[in-house]
Subunit: 415 residues, 2 copies
């Protein structure tokens, strides 16, 4: 069957102290390589629970990838457990030992005995080199199943997956090809989209699946096709993806699997234009989204985050009288903020935002979640009021996404 299951180990996952981003990344990479992930399981640093998970997952998948529990501290029991599970004996691996010494020498830090313990591995595994840390990975085989154990530190695990695990799995198996196509829509609900593409969905062949992925007030649609032949599968999925794009064209943001800010960045780069932002309630989140994109300096100049009244006056030359009569959350002020940023930063386009994100600070006529958004250029500014009813962080995210979408439409209307 050549399907994979991911086991993540660590009490922190079960008390919710950290969000598991590792298994999402692993699932993505495995899918690209044509390996279907059928299950993901998280268990605590508890001997029996880890043991049971190893026992059970081999009934669901023949590739079992394990992360976490390999640190140098005593809450990490995974390595001795794996040693026993795969009937091994702990021995020092010379290559892993040298790796620990190299890393500490490079960092110019003293090595303590506990660090060198990292080089001990069961003699029944193949050691996977860790280029980015001291804990080696381990590859075990048992009754036709492959078990790979990696550290939980994301960039260490990622290095091992890319350089060793995925290439080794691909050499071993002949996976069917998996192709995905994703598009992003905005301004339309999941149910309405479903009505719109009902006929299309019913005509999909058995090897192509459609999924609805709502997020941040937008809906992503994803087609997934499997087939023995890469070319045939890619052609087939492209044909259906073309039709799907036509059906949702009025709401289509992008036909790539990318966030809104990347679409906006590409539109700006294509025009050879730049943008700045003037943010109050979003507190730099729009700037952060835009600058998360590699090469953002091509289309992004800078921003003014004006949280206080003084900052709005001093950095954006907002009119004090209007600030006092209309309040900071008003069409007049957000328009002035946009104009001030355009003038002071000298960009071609601007996004300005002023609102009340909560949980406190709401007014009778401006409840928590209210924001004014302005987008535009020297040629003109367009402003709109929005109202979201969520918690502070989600209100910030939704306001930012809505502002980027307004700018995107402004850019498209112009051209």
């Amino acid at each position: 069957m050549n399907e994979a299951s991911i086991i993540t180990i660590g009490d922190e996952l079960l008390i919710g102290q950290v969000v598991d981003t590792n298994s999402a990344w692993m699932a993505q990479e495995l899918n690209k390589a044509g390996i279907r992930v059928v299950r993901r399981v998280a268990v605590g640093d508890v001997w029996d629970e880890i043991w049971n998970a190893l026992d059970e997952e081999q009934h669901h998948a023949d590739i079992i990838l394990i992360t976490g529990g390999l640190g140098p501290t005593s809450d990490d029991i995974t390595k001795p457990l794996l040693c026993k599970y795969f009937n091994g004996k702990m021995t020092v691996n010379e290559e892993a030992r040298q790796n620990v010494i190299d890393i500490f020498t490079r960092l110019n830090r003293p090595i303590i005995e506990r660090n060198l313990l990292q080089a001990e591995v069961p003699d029944t595994c193949r050691v996977i080199r860790n280029y980015r840390g001291t804990a080696p990975g381990m590859w075990f085989e048992k009754e036709g199943r492959i078990f790979v154990s990696m550290p939980g530190v994301p960039h260490e695990m990622k290095g091992m997956m890319e350089l060793d695990v995925i290439p080794a799995l691909c050499r071993r198996f002949n996976f069917p090809h998996i192709a995905h196509r994703t598009l992003l829509t905005a301004g339309v609900g999941e149910s309405f989209l479903a009505e719109l593409i009902q006929g299309f969905e019913q005509e999909l062949p058995a090897n192509i699946k459609l999924a609805y992925l709502p997020n941040y007030g937008m809906v992503r649609l994803r087609l997934s096709a499997t087939g023995p032949d890469e070319k045939v599968t890619e052609l087939e999925i492209d044909r259906f993806f073309e039709r799907l794009q036509g059906l949702v064209k009025d709401y289509l943001v992008t036909n790539k699997d990318e966030p809104m800010e990347r679409t906006v960045g590409r539109l700006l780069t294509r025009k050879g234009c730049t943008i700045c932002t003037a943010e109050s309630c979003t507190g730099g989140y729009i700037a952060h989204l835009l600058t998360s994109i590699p090469g953002a300096s091509e289309f992004y100049d800078g921003s003014v985050i004006s949280y206080s009244y003084e900052a709005k006056e001093d950095l954006l030359q907002v009119d004090k009288t209007i600030l006092e009569t209309r309040g900071a959350v008003s069409e007049e002020i957000v328009t002035q903020m946009a104009k001030g940023a355009l003038k002071n930063i000298g960009s071609d386009y601007v996004i300005a935002v002023s609102g009340i994100m909560g949980p406190e600070g709401g007014l009778p006529d401006k409840p928590v979640g209210t924001a004014w958004i302005a987008v535009g250029s020297k040629g003109g500014i367009f402003a709109k009021k929005v109202h979201f009813r969520f918690d502070r962080i989600r209100n910030i995210q939704l306001t930012a996404t809505t502002a980027l979408d307004m700018l995107r439409k402004f850019l498209l209307q112009e051209s």
Copy 2:
């Protein structure tokens, strides 16, 4: 045993398109209520895999919480499956039907047949009201096990958990008390910490566990205690937590389970002082962290994000000649940026950052990941060079966290 298992349903979790934040939140809330989460399992929108997960998880836990797969689109098969699994018949629930109508009326949107289908539930469940969406939750019982199905939309699930599920579980069972204490350290590695508190760790009684949670170059230490009596358990964990804080005092950032930015915000509020930032490479991320905190306007004034050379000159009055001779990533420029922001925004304290976050843009003497950070006040600016070796996003996060920690130390040294 009164332990819980969380099943999340959705193909998007298995191809890694979304990160599962629901189960982390659920685990947190269950723990607070004294319910231990023993496993988390993610499966796709596949009939047999969901069925198997229901069969299996009841061997691990007696409370099984399920999220996802309840949307109105045809990739959602969870509801009919639950109907069959619990030997029910689909019937319209009048209260759920009225809820759908109310929501659409409030949003002033037309109802389509597909929306009303949300009100159909198996007649073998107790319906859990969804105040924030159209899909009702379902509470089933079978052979002494409780199964609760909720939508995957985070704020809908959260509403049901808080208003119905957790109170109902607490009424039913007599959970042991669980207490957690968390502290945050910076500037010290996991192994070194482990050496430092080795003796302490060995003396911990069986009902208290210690966990190391490394994140963003910092290490969180968490104590978890269980016991039948709330008062006794809280007193016992406080005693050990006190000792632990003493042992790590040189590296202690906060003894609360909170992010660095909240600690910094509290220090500023206590002084009655405000802060601004001047960010280049972090692109507003420090401003975003500070403004994510409710009530940030008490201690945060605003920021200048100066990505381009022009923005650095125009908004922060950075010296053009120095910019050209030393480059933007230099001690001189980051110090000028800090002074410019202090002057233009008028805050008491400032953080300024300039660097190269990658993947492109590295120079022989300033490789990717290099950043200059300045912190200070009108009384003086202190600057430091850092170098991180990760991807763009992680470099941004680490630079931001390091900058906040530098400011924290600056604030503490002053007082």
